[in-house]
Amino acid sequence: MDMEIITSIKPLLATVTPLLCILLIILSRRIPNLRELWTIIASLVTFSIVASMVKTLYTSKIIAYKLVEVYPGVDIAFRVDAFGLFFALLSSFLWIVVSFYSIGYMRSLDEHSQTRYFAFFAVAISSALGVAFSSNLFTLYLFYEILTVCTYPLVTHNQNNEARSSGRMYLGYLLGTSVAFFLPAILFTYYFAGTLDFSPHGILNGKASNGMITFLFLLFLFGIGKAAIMPFNGWLPRAMVAPTPVSALLHAVAVVKAGVFCQLRVYFNIFGVELLHNQNLDIFLIYFVSITILLGSLFALKQDDIKAMLAYSTISQLSYIILAAGLYSYHGMLGGVVHIVMHGFGKITLFMCAGSILCGARIKKISRLGGIGRRMPITMLAFLFGALSVAGIPPFGGFMSKWFLALGSIEAHQWPILVVLLTSTLLNLGYFMPVVFISFFGKDSESIKGYPDIREPSPFIVAPLAFTALVSLALFFYPYPFLYLAEIFVKSMMGG
């Protein structure tokens, strides 16, 4: 199925806009209001550029833009297909929300080095968009690495000993896996396939021996550490030392979703689902990530720190998305892809709630949340919405993706996966519901009793999280345009 290709500079513009805004951020570093204004403007502009491409994609077209050839046959080039736009739309939209939230959060905690914070945040978004719009594995790797490096100053924002050791682990895991596995995998792919360009049905089919394909598959599986598949998940909980908006956008959406995005890209457009299926790698994949799904949820049960619990929950949920590549069926793929968005909105809500609790009540532990819901009702209600969406309970967005995944596992005759999904849902409720329950119905904890000034923090914080909570709800009733894009993408792989 050949799609019409349109050359347009839009993907480049979208990627570069956040970078341009850095210059303005640095120039206006002495005037915080102006500085934050630039961030907001840049996020709006970026989003509108991304959104303006949706129409084109609806008509089964692809947008391409080649920047420069770095090696004969390997370019730094952009290519926007439905899947890329899907991810870009999510990231750039949530950047707007989180920008507002950042302002409220950073100011209410009077954080230091805010200029650096906003500048690197913009780089991170730019590279996440770069990942989304990459037209080949090389460009993907390029932005993937930039994303790793530029989030380091964000993760270690506090610059204390805890940040230092977490930062070490962060870079160690992400750079280590990418250099040790991802890069060789790319080189081998190039060596065998002679190209790195993404193609709807993969480029490796028939190009290498079965053993080599399996070897490459494992290299990619472990090389893309951002997807936090066990055993390379250790960095994510540690990265929670970052300020909450960073955790919210980057470690619930941009960075980790870039990881699963890369994984799916590789499986869909480098290997091709057919190839995976023929070699039974898809079966291996789904059972391998099932371990992460279950263990991640179990670990989340044990956590007392809110953000750590959310991090383990994220680890578990990310592997749901990977299931898309392994469930060799229409609904399986659709469910995995759609889960990127559903989980994104749900989890970002949860993180922003955690930040709101920190700002409003200075509490980080679940065990101290007793009664907080009565003081901060909006936050905790939003938390409930987010939790239900992540767990996949109707009428929230998360239900839709889980439903598709469950359908997919039936279509693919993988009954055990259905069991995994159900068990995990129960576990999700198991670690979310107590939080909501004690916050509304529990006794006032010691951290709350003597502090009458605990209340909802600044509207800059509360409004964004209430907004995303409502979006999580709304996505159940109106999942477009995300669902359309996902359908276009999955059909392009299944058809033809």
Binding site: F138, L171, L187, Y191
Partner: protein
């Protein structure tokens, strides 16, 4: 003028060097602009030469009008015109940066320092431009003598380090001369092209074999290839900052160039690879050099010494690439000559800035350097990323070619060494960056950064070249495809 450009590249620094002492005798301050002028002219001529070569093919310049093999000729092909531009422009950058460094470290020797600076560059350029084996020796000695003197006026222990370097360097030069003698005996000619033409008939001669061995060992000493590297760390650590920034990137690169010339131009791959297994020996030495270099670098607490060991490892990359003996590998080696020259220049310029501003080159003196010297450290971060091999910096691309070459040559151990060194480099730079980023753990905790640490940047004369190098590292990466397809693919020996 354009016809004479090849010789003017070398002659400009030479003539200017002769005038420098006189000028300095009259007015000391004029030396600096004078050197800049000389090297600018030389750079311009080198670029003209490169353009000529790209447009009209190889230039044969007969000195004194005597046709070879009776007279001396300059043969400028794609390979050495490229390296001429590199040498001339990097020495120009280092010259620009040297102003404050020289005034600080050798205040009453400025005039002679600059004279020898120019002579050193003359030597490098002469080595690269010439097509005559003995003429190469003469310029090698010019470069060496100037180098000894420039290093000897460094820190406390510089003289003794220089003495050791001098002894080793002389052995290297003598071995080279012996090799030339044996070769002359077997062929009766000193002209490289002529010798190359005669040699195939007498490849079985033992004289030729011994000549080849001695030429290579001599050059290997000059480039500090692994078992012969012992002189390098001391000499370059104690050298004045401006000297190490000039000598460290260029001397080794020029020697690698000579090695490529000997293995692939004077001798043909048929001899160097089929008759003698030079590629195997070089391959193993390279692997050991890389691993030894990075591991030793990891143990250093002195940043200049650390950079020296990195340099030793980097030499391993290039020699390994030469040893792969296929087009990709040699392309990678030549590309890495450029990239490494840029990176090592960057490293030693940063070292210069640190020594100038913070008063020493112990790693602990870098505490809080990100606050004090944000621009220098940002440039340092770029260089570090390039050494690790993070795209889009240029270090990634030479590694890319080298690894592809190694896959083609099925030299797996070299791939492992490359990847391992990337990982160790990452740890290494991270160690420095961490120290410079966190500063003293005690007062970083309480988010206030307003007092105390104000920006105290290195002088502009250092920052500008450093910025140019950092930019060049990124641009060379992005445009490496153009560089390879435009220049380097013609520079690789045609019979590979």
């Amino acid at each position: 003028m354009i016809d004479q450009a090849p010789i003017l590249v070398v002659i400009f620094p030479l003539i200017f060097a002769v005038v420098t002492p006189l000028l300095g005798w009259w007015k000391k301050d004029l030396c600096y602009p004078w050197v800049i002028l000389a090297l600018s002219l030389s750079s311009v001529c080198s670029i003209i030469t490169l353009k000529e070569v790209l447009g009209n093919g190889v230039i044969h310049y007969h000195l004194g009008g005597w046709e070879p093999p009776w007279g001396i000729e300059y043969v400028i092909d794609h390979l050495n015109s490229f390296i001429l531009v590199l040498v001339a422009s990097i020495s120009l950058l280092v010259a620009i940066s040297s102003k404050r460094l020289v005034e600080e470290e050798n205040p009453d020797k400025v005039v002679y320092f600059y004279t020898l600076f120019l002579l050193q560059v003359t030597g490098f350029l002469g080595i690269v431009a010439t097509g005559d084996l003995f003429n190469l020796y003469v310029f090698l000695e010019i470069a060496s003598l100037a180098g000894y003197a420039l290093i000897a006026v460094g820190e406390e222990h510089a003289p003794f380090a220089t003495f050791r370097y001098l002894v080793m360097g002389t052995i290297g030069a003598c071995f080279y001369l012996l090799g030339v003698g044996y070769l002359y005996m077997a062929t009766g000619s000193l002209n490289m092209a002529d010798v190359a033409q005669i040699l195939p008939d007498i490849y079985s001669s033992k004289v030729v074999m011994v000549a080849f061995i001695f030429l290579l060992v001599g050059v290997a000493i000059k480039m500090a290839l692994f078992p012969l590297h012992a002189w390098l760390p001391d000499a370059y650590t104690y050298a004045p900052s401006a000297t190490s920034a000039l000598v460290a990137p260029l001397m080794t690169k020029v020697s690698v160039y000579v090695m490529i010339r000997i293995i692939y131009t004077v001798f043909k791959p048929y001899y160097s690879i089929e008759i003698l297994p030079v590629n195997l020996i070089l391959g193993w030495l390279a692997v050991i050099a890389i691993l030894y270099g990075v591991i030793m670098a990891l143990r250093q607490v002195d940043i200049k010494r650390m950079f020296c060991y990195i340099l030793i490892a980097e030499i391993g990359y290039m020699v390994g690439g030469v040893g792969l003996a296929n087009r990709l590998g040699v392309t990678g080696a030549i590309l890495h000559i450029m990239n490494d020259a840029l990176m090592i220049t960057g490293l030693f310029l940063v070292a210069g800035a640190v020594v100038y501003k913070l008063g020493g080159h112990n790693i602990n003196q870098l505490r809080d350097a990100f606050k004090k010297m944000p621009f220098s450290m940002a440039a340092f971060a770029v260089v570090g990323l390039s050494l690790i091999g993070v795209p889009p910096t240029c270090g990634f691309f030479s590694k890319w070619y080298l690894i592809l070459g190694a896959i083609e040559a099925e030299n797996w151990i070299f791939i492992v060494a490359l990847l391992l060194s990337s990982a160790i480099n990452a740890i290494l730079f991270f160690k420095i960056v961490e120290i410079a980023y966190y500063g003293k753990a005690s007062h970083a905790h309480n988010g206030d950064s307003h007092g105390g640490n104000t920006i105290d940047e290195a002088p502009v004369s250092i920052l500008i070249p450093l910025g140019v190098v950092a930019l060049a590292i990124i641009l060379a990466g992005i445009f490496s495809g153009k560089i390879v397809s435009g220049i380097l693919q013609f520079a690789v020996p045609p019979n590979l």
